[in-house]
Amino acid sequence: MNDERWQHLMADRSPSFVDLLRRASPHLLGTPAAAGDAHADVPHGTTVLAMRYRDGVIMAGDRQATAGYQVASRRIEKIFKADDLSGVGIAGAAGPAMEMAKLFQTELEHYEKVEGDNLSLEGKANKLGQMIRMNLPAAMQGLAVVPIFAGFDEKAGLGRLFKYDITGGRYEETNYDAQGSGSKDARDSLKKLWKRDMGRDEALRVALEALIDAADEDVGTGGPDLVRGIFPTVKTITRSGFGDVPEDEVKRTCEAILSDRTLHGTGS
């Protein structure tokens, strides 16, 4: 009588939360593709970046979401903790991207609880790629999600970072990368400023220089907002875990960069 139930349990021993949702609540999964082009009306996250430094990786993102020519939000967060040793920076359609980050967090935690063990960094990066691929129909209509994934690889003892394309293609970057509308400017900046084995303070400064450059050149990217007191979010991922860089430290560094630029006339 209960054969079915037990066969079901045996066959469904997958530790994946996404697989579980697909079976149990498929309506919670993925962004349904809309008719027409949704791109212009939907808030988009703009610039996020990740780079390696001496202790691991540092991730940073501006705080603005942009819908067409409008500022949709000035305070969104784009860098999410995925688990204790990794983080995701989201760019692209903000709604689906934040949903994907939440699903990814749940996926990693679910795996950890069911299996009693963590996924490898490689495994996490692949899983995120599969989730981006699931979003492909929506991406084709302008709701693309292109995150950066970075984490500390315990086995290799170093920080690693991965970028993706809209089809879920996964590419490992060795030193730094940026995503979103201001990514080209941020990358150009990082190309000149990034050095091997930077300390935390220097890495923080370089990350913020790159974000300020992106905000300077890209209309979608928000710079440090001194009037409202809104500053980029910066996170570090090291052997000892995922940590915030405190806001007043970010603020001080931003102010130092801006005053140097004023002093040297490089801001004009």
């Binding site: 021993r13 939360f17 949702l21 919670l28 749940t106 679910h110 069911v114």
Partner: protein
């Protein structure tokens, strides 16, 4: 045609209950105690790989005694229930009460409908939040779906009654972790004539002072230290 023989429902339930109780009595016991900063779970379990105590969600832990494969299944189903609920509503909406009720329904159905009942007892504990004044909750669910909520301490497994008696006589509110652990281990020892060392124990806490995920295993070295300070 052979006549199908008649068994009265009373007899059938009695047989099933006896069968389940025997299975559970063969296994080792688990105790739970509330302490100052949360809830302590102590299991007698020499294995470091097959757990009897584990994490379900941010503030919720699970413990099972009896047949491993059966409570392991219940554990995974519980994690799924919690993660789906937390994902579709919010993390704060996942409660031990809903989970304990789901376990109670599942075990009750299996007990009445299946030929063989589950030979397990499970415990669902949720640590309270000092910020919004919620209290600790401990639910104890038996093989037939009977559900009880326990205060301060709970014991389950083979010799639970004797263990409970020790806990009742010596439990004090606002125990420190080391005191609670000492009493837990002492209670587990009453049913046998050997002392339990850190190698025979699996210990975890729901620690209110932790961020978000409150569940924490106490590794053997730390456990040895805690047991030593208690003496």
């Amino acid at each position: 045609m052979p006549l199908p023989y008649y068994v009265s429902p009373e007899q059938m339930m009695k047989d099933k209950a006896e069968y389940a109780r025997k299975g559970i009595a063969r296994g080792r016991s688990i105790v739970t105690l509330e302490y100052k900063d949360g809830i302590l779970l102590v299991a007698e379990n020499p294995s470091t790989l097959l757990h009897k105590v584990s994490e379900i969600y941010d503030r919720i832990a699970f413990a099972g005694v009896g047949k491993y494969n059966e409570f392991e299944n219940l554990r995974i189903v519980g994690i799924r229930h919690a993660d789906i609920k937390g994902y579709s509503y919010s993390r704060g909406d996942v409660t031990a009460k809903a989970l304990a009720n789901a376990y109670s329904q599942a075990l009750g159905n299996i007990f009445t409908q299946d030929v063989k009942p589950f030979e397990v007892e499970v415990l669902v504990a949720e640590v309270g939040d000092s910020n919004n004044g919620t209290k600790n909750e401990i639910y104890h669910i038996l093989y037939d779906g009977t559900i009880e909520d326990e205060k301060n301490y709970a014991a389950m497994g083979g010799q639970a009654d004797e263990i409970r008696r020790v806990l009742k006589d010596h439990y004090k509110e606002a125990f420190g972790l080391d005191e609670a652990l000492q009493l837990g281990v002492r209670a587990l020892t009453v049913t046998q004539n050997k002392t339990l060392s850190e190698r025979d124990l699996e210990v975890a806490v729901l620690d209110r002072t932790k961020e978000r995920r409150k569940f924490r295993r106490i590794p053997a070295e730390a456990l040895a230290q805690l047991l030593a300070t208690a003496k």
